[in-house]
Structures are given as C-alpha cells and as structure tokens.
C-alpha cells in the first residue's frame, strides 16, 4: 500500500550549496512533529555549484525528498511550476531555498488551510532586507498589484505560501508569475488568508532576484489582469472595442454620403476614414470569434475553477477535493 503524503514542501534552489542541507534539516525539524506524512520537493533550477549533488545526497538519505532537476536556469516561476507539477501532497507549501523563510511557520499555514482557506500567503512584517533596493520597490509593487487585481495582499513577494493542491494545479503559471500567484489564482475565486511570518536576513550565499525585474512584473500583471478577465468571453471584449469604431465609421460614411447628395462631390478622406473604421471594427470582431475558438480548445475552464473553490451548503456532502478542509 502506498499513500500520497498529505503535505508537500516545495523549495526551488539556485546555487544554494551552503543552504540546502540546513534547509532540509529545518524543514524536517519543523514538519515532522506535526505528524502528517509529508514530502519535500527540491527543485534544482540549473545551479552551477554543488547544489544538485547535495540534493541527490539528501534524497539518498531521506526517502521523503524528491529532487526535480532542470538542466539550465529557468527562473523562479518555472521552478515553482515544476515543483507544483511534481508534488503529490494535498497541501502544497512553497518557500525560498535561502533560509530567509522559517519552516516553523508551516504549522500556522496548515491550520489556516484546515479552516477552509484555499490559499494562505505569508507576510514578512519585519522584513530583513535592504530598504531602498528591495523594501520600497516591493511596497510600491504590492500596492499596484493589489489595486489592479483587487486582491489586497500586503506581501506578494513572500515565497512562503500554502495552496490546496487541487486548486493550484489548475492555475496556469508562466513568465514571472510566482510573484502574484494569489492574484493569478484569484480568477478561480479562492478564499485567501494572509498571516504574519518570520523573516531572517540572508546568512549564506548571494541574493539572486533583484530590482531589475519590477517593470516586467508590472507588464505581466497587466497582461494577467486583461487576459484573466476576458478569457472566457473574448467575443464580448473585442466587440466592446469594435463598437465605437463601427459607430464612428458609420457616422463618417453617412456624413460623406450626405455631402455627396447635398454638394455633389464625395469627400474622399472622410469616406475612406469611414471604410477603414468599419472594416477595422469588423476585423476586431473576427478576432473575438477566433478568441472564442481558442478558449474552447484550451485547457483552462472557468467551470473547473468554480467547482474547485465553490462550496455546497448547508448540508450536502463535500466532495473529494474538499477533504483537506474538513478532516484533521
């Protein structure tokens, strides 16, 4: 008989040879006493030092360790996504591999999930980082993300998060999205909780992710916001864009026809403008139809989300997906 672990702790590593053993020990020390079967998914994001070697060594000594290896460095989001894909627990915990998060916080995350939340986000309320280069940009980014997505999370950048596996595995993750997985997941309508976590200053190794990515984050954010809100109804969105164009086009054509009747000459620039606007609107609407087709053929479906996050009440029996919240 084999049983899937209840809990998967996912940790991406990129050149963290000084930290990986300590990380493993800290996680074991924190999670073992909780009494749940658990696994650790260590994602080696193409490290150039001995990280992989040490990780394999850990796997040899501890069968709960599962090492996922990338041949090259892809970045944090793909590493998280691969970890999430490979994890087999019902509850997934993600954290940084640099010991800045404290595994002792995992206990509170679990109890929040047990309360019925789908996503629990850590908030580094006493963040141990440089003020100017890290804390201030992140403050601004968080405010922007919160405003744009409508999911007011104080600290999107904190890697320590907990997810219900059935939900997060349905969320498409790409580009630099690990920073706002909650915002991304908000398209599925989850219950999100935020709790304070401890944060330690970096002891060993170099900090890998800096300021330079903020603008990319913002671009991605806008894309997500747009795509998430129009995914399931592209035709409507494109029509919304196309309608004013079509109206203006009709107006211009009408005007030039009226001139033709009144004066006898057709004002070509206005007539041409009208045709361009009308045809442009038509092409946009065609784009919307293509969009509908893409959505139908794609594998992201709104009804899956609603099934995962919705609850039946008052008395209907809960389905398998919700076991994590009702037991233990």
């Amino acid at each position: 008989m084999t049983v899937n672990p209840k809990l998967s702790v996912i940790v991406p590593f990129y050149n963290e040879e000084e930290n990986i053993d300590r990380m493993h020990a800290a996680i074991v020390a924190a999670v073992e006493p909780l009494g749940h079967p658990f696994e650790m998914v260590l994602v080696n994001d193409g490290s150039r030092d001995r990280t992989l070697e040490l990780a394999i060594d850990l796997a040899r000594r501890d069968a709960r360790v599962r090492v996922v290896n990338f041949r090259r460095n892809y970045g944090q989001t793909p590493a998280m996504a691969a970890g999430i894909e490979q994890a087999r627990g019902e509850i997934l915990i993600t954290m940084d591999g640099d010991l800045q998060n404290d595994p002792r916080d995992i206990e509170q995350f679990l109890s929040k999930i047990d309360e019925g939340y789908d996503i629990v986000v850590g908030w580094r309320f006493n963040r141990q980082d440089k003020l100017v280069s890290r804390k201030i940009p992140s403050r601004i980014a968080n405010w922007l993300i919160g405003t744009v997505t409508g999911v007011p999370i104080k600290d999107n950048g904190c890697s320590l998060k907990a997810y219900r596996a059935s939900l997060i595995k349905e969320i498409p993750l790409y580009s630099e999205m690990h920073r706002f997985i909650p915002a991304m997941a908000s398209i599925a309508g989850p219950r999100i909780a935020e709790i304070k976590v401890r944060h330690h200053a970096r002891q060993f190794g170099q900090s890998k992710y800096g300021l330079s990515r903020v603008y990319k984050v913002l671009l991605d954010l806008m894309v997500i916001k747009t795509v998430a809100s129009f995914t399931s109804r592209p035709l409507r969105w494109f029509s919304l864009l196309a309608t004013p164009m079509a109206l203006l086009g009709l107006l211009a054509i009408g005007h030039s026809l009226w001139r033709l009747g009144a004066i006898g000459t057709l004002p070509l620039p206005v007539a041409g403008t009208g045709v361009i606007l009308l045809m442009g609107a038509f092409i946009l609407a065609c784009g919307g139809i293509l969009g509908e087709l893409v959505y139908k053929l794609g594998d992201v479906r709104e009804q899956d989300f609603s099934r995962l996050t919705g609850k039946v009440w008052p008395t209907a029996p809960l389905r398998g997906e919700f076991e994590g919240s009702t037991h233990a």
Binding site: P5, R66, F70, Q86, P172, L219, V294, D299
Partner: protein, 330 residues
C-alpha cells in the same frame, strides 16, 4: 558488413534535398568514414521529395549488397521534417546527421561523435574554409545578426554535420527549415552545445553567386528565430509595444486635426491626414488585439506549452516508510 540485429549505438541520418551529390560517391565516402569508428551503426537516407537520380543510385547500391534504410517522402517537406522522419526510424542512442553533398571530410565524423563525451549536441564547423570575400561577408553578417538576437555565437550553421544524444530530438520538435537552428533551440532547452572544427571537403566548392532568394531566406530565418527566442511566450510584449506606439501616433494626429478644426477653422473633411491618422489608430488597435489573442493562446495552453523541461526526477525508495509511492529511478 553490419547486421541489423546488432545493438546499434549510432544512427546516421542523411536527408537528401534538391542539392545533393552523387549517391554512390557520397555513400562510399561516408561508409569509409563511419567504418573507421569501429562501432555498429545504421545508415538512413531520407529522400525529401522526388530525387529520382539519387533514388536510382541508392537502388543500385542496395542491389550491390550494401545495407541501409531509405525513407522517401512523397513531396518536399524541408530538411528539418526529413530529419524528424529519419529520427523516427533511428534506433541508436547517438544520432549523427550528415549533409547531402560533400561538405566535410568524412574521416572527421569521429571527432563529432567523441565531442559528445562532454556535450549533448556537437555541430560541425568547416574550418579552414574557402570562399570569396563576398561569401565570407555574407556568412559573418548572418552569424553576427544571429548572435545579436540569440546571444549565442556560432560560425557555421549551414554545416549539415551534427551529432547528438537521442534525447535532444526527443525534446525538440523541428519543422520546416529549423534544422539550421537546432543548436539555438537545444541551448534553450539547456543542452550543452559544442562547435567542432572539421576539415572542409575539397569537393565543397560553391561557385557562382547566391541568389537574392538565399539572402531573403536567411533574413527570414533570423526573424523566425528572433520570435521563437524572444516573444513566443510573451506575445503582448511585442504586439502591444508596436500596437500602442502606432495607436499613439495616430491618436496624436487626430487630436491635432480636431484642434485645428475647432480653433483654427481648418476644414477636416477634405484633409488626407485624416485618413492617415484613422489608419494608424485602427491598425494600432488591431495589433494590440492580435497580441491579446496570442496571450489568450498562451494562457489557455500554459500547461501544454511549458516554460521548462524537467531533466529528471530523483527519489529513492525507502523500505522503512510505506508512505512514499512508487518512485522514479535515478
């Protein structure tokens, strides 16, 4: 003579396109070079489209008792597709591709194969190389542009001699004319790519001038790679940038025209500038919409078109705990 039943480690694929050498001469040369490796190997010729002279040559070689496999495609699909067709029939762990005409000294194939000890993909570079100044310029412009786009410096992507481990093509789906960019794509998947200097064959002499078509194709190829590398996963970044700037120029122009109409009594209806501005606005919006469509495709297929490729998953079985399910090997 080799037996098919032997464990074949090496599969040699030779895609035959429209430009090819004589079958008998090519076969004899490659055979001599490959036999020198002292490894069991299989030869696969892929005829990309009707090459009746080459097919006839192969047929008479087969009748003479030589052993190799021929795959003939019904029409010309392009070298990359021909390669993939050959790959489907290849059983070796190491795949070698060789050009359809004499580019390199066949005796050097061993160098390519041994380069695989320290890399996943070895590509040939003809060196020292003949060619006039114009030809040399063409080559360096092409590879220079490519290096700018991909930040990878290669010198001779036109060389058809490559050797790689089987898993390289298992992870990369080539099509059309992408065979030339196999190193670029492989590098993106995290494979180690190595360039190996091979002697240029004395028969590899290109006389005459390249047609403008060749140049166009080269630039189109670079364009393709540019998109593959930079923007496939982020269509809106490209389309959006171009679209928004087009839209902005158009909108500014419209504003200017309207201001002139309202405050300076310039008639609007007769001005050709109106046409230009509305064109810019509409095209800008449409580009943006195309980008959105691209994002929609990425978003709804993100799990199928992954950003990453897992090399392996390592977990050891532990007898003491029954909580861990069946595990992958190391």
């Amino acid at each position: 003579m080799l037996e098919r039943t032997l464990d074949i480690e090496l599969s040699v694929i030779i895609p035959i396109g429209s430009r090819h050498a004589d079958a008998a001469a090519l076969h004899a040369e490659y055979k001599a070079g490959l036999d020198a490796l002292r490894q069991p190997y299989e030869l696969i010729f892929v005829l990309d489209g009707p090459c009746s002279d080459f097919a006839a040559g192969l047929r008479s070689l087969l009748e003479a008792g030589h052993r190799f496999t021929v795959i003939s495609l019904t029409r010309t699909f392009g070298e990359a597709t021909a390669l993939m067709a050959g790959f489907e029939h290849a059983s070796g762990q190491i795949i070698v591709t060789l050009p359809a005409y004499h580019q390199i000294e066949a005796a050097d194939v061993g160098k390519l194969v041994s380069a695989l000890d320290s890399s996943d993909l070895a590509i040939g570079r003809r060196w020292p190389r003949t060619g006039g100044p114009l030809e040399r310029l063409r080559r360096s412009v092409f590879h220079g542009l490519l290096a700018r786009v991909t930040r990878l410096q290669y010198h001779d992507l036109g060389c058809g001699a490559r050797a790689f481990h089987r898993r390289v093509l298992e992870e990369i789906q080539l099509y059309g004319d992408q065979h030339r960019f196999l190193p670029v794509l492989a590098d993106r998947q995290g494979f180690r790519v190595q360039e190996v200097e091979l002697r240029q064959s004395a028969k590899d002499r290109f006389e005459g001038v390249y047609q403008p078509r060749e140049y166009t194709r080269g630039f189109l190829d670079i364009f393709t790679v540019f998109f593959l590398v930079r923007f496939t996963k982020k269509p809106l970044r490209f389309f959006g940038m171009v679209g928004v700037s087009t839209f902005a120029v158009g909108a500014l122009l419209v504003t200017w025209l309207v201001v002139e109409r309202l405050f300076f009594e310039q008639p609007l209806a007769e001005r050709p500038a109106l046409l230009l501005s509305s064109l810019l606005v509409v095209l800008g919006l449409q580009l943006f919409a195309l980008g959105l469509l691209g994002e929609l495709i990425i978003f709804t297929h993100a799990r199928a078109i992954k950003d990453y490729q897992i090399e392996r998953v390592i977990q050891y079985r532990d007898e003491r705990t029954a909580t861990v399910p069946d595990l992958e090997h190391t």
